[in-house]
């Protein structure tokens, strides 16, 4: 919630969400309010930095694995093509291969 201006005075409130229940804490307008404001600003900054770092980490790892996932796709499709060209048909969503022209 942060700073609220009431009758030309600024008061600091902190809202927290715990299991869907929002609790608001009042800090007044003195030193305690300034300290709470600084602590919250620091925590928000830290959280933003963490989000940024996580995003970079996830993107980096996903990119590193992309080529390998592409390879797996091609290997699986080529194996399928090999089966089809050998006269089989994928049955039951690929859990079984049936010979079609063996007779």
């Amino acid at each position: 919630m942060g700073w609220q201006e009431i009758n030309e005075h600024r008061y600091y409130y902190r809202s927290t969400n715990t299991d869907g229940i929002i609790t608001t804490e009042y800090f007044g307008r003195g030193a305690e309010a300034a300290l709470a404001s600084h602590v919250d600003a620091f925590k928000t900054g830290k959280k933003l930095q963490q989000d940024h770092d996580d995003q970079i980490y996830i993107t980096q790892l996903s990119n590193d694995l992309e080529q390998y996932i592409n390879l797996q796709w091609w290997i699986n499709r080529l194996a399928r093509a090999d089966g089809l060209l050998a006269g089989f048909i994928r049955h039951n969503r690929g859990s079984e291969w049936r010979q079609t022209n063996a007779e």
Binding site: Q50, D51, I58, I75, A79, A81
Partner: protein, 205 residues
Amino acid sequence: MLNDLLIQSTDSSNNSLKECPDREDFQNAVDGANLGDTDKLLELQQLLDKHPEIWNQLGDLSKHSVMSLVRMIAGENRCLHESIIRSVQQLTLDLSESQQPTTVERLLISGVVCAWLEVQLAIEKSTSLGEESLRRSRFHLKLRESANRRFESSVRVLQQYRIREVKLVRLKGKIAAEVQARQADYTQILAAEYPWLEERTVLGE
């Protein structure tokens, strides 16, 4: 094959699938052929004939993938790096049933090896971080699930390939018996009555 795995590809330009057919076209041809569409089956054959390099490229890419996954798991730890390489060698050896597996089988084995490495990577990532954020934990959990799924799938594909091979060998035996009974020429009968079986032997070689 074992030594091939140890050769680290240095030319990154060789690691992309430049000469592969279009992914969508290939998928359509595979799907159509599976529905019994003979035109699509022919198209699939032509796509593979037009891109004979695909087998080599996938082979190169699989070697590169193995090495990059090993590097991702081991990092700067040379001892761990060497241990993983030996485990990869052993796994490849265990999975190879014959001394000279076919190109398709080699690719499928390398697919299983890569998937196994991905599972190791996912386990390593999800256990090495002490105080990781909720977002990273979720990502690691998803990575582990996907890696396990891909590993199971790659093992199943290899298993299905081997079942198909056994069925084909049985069919060839049946044809040979039939040929013997009719006192005909095996290659002629194969070419006339089972052309797909004859053509298949050259696939990927």
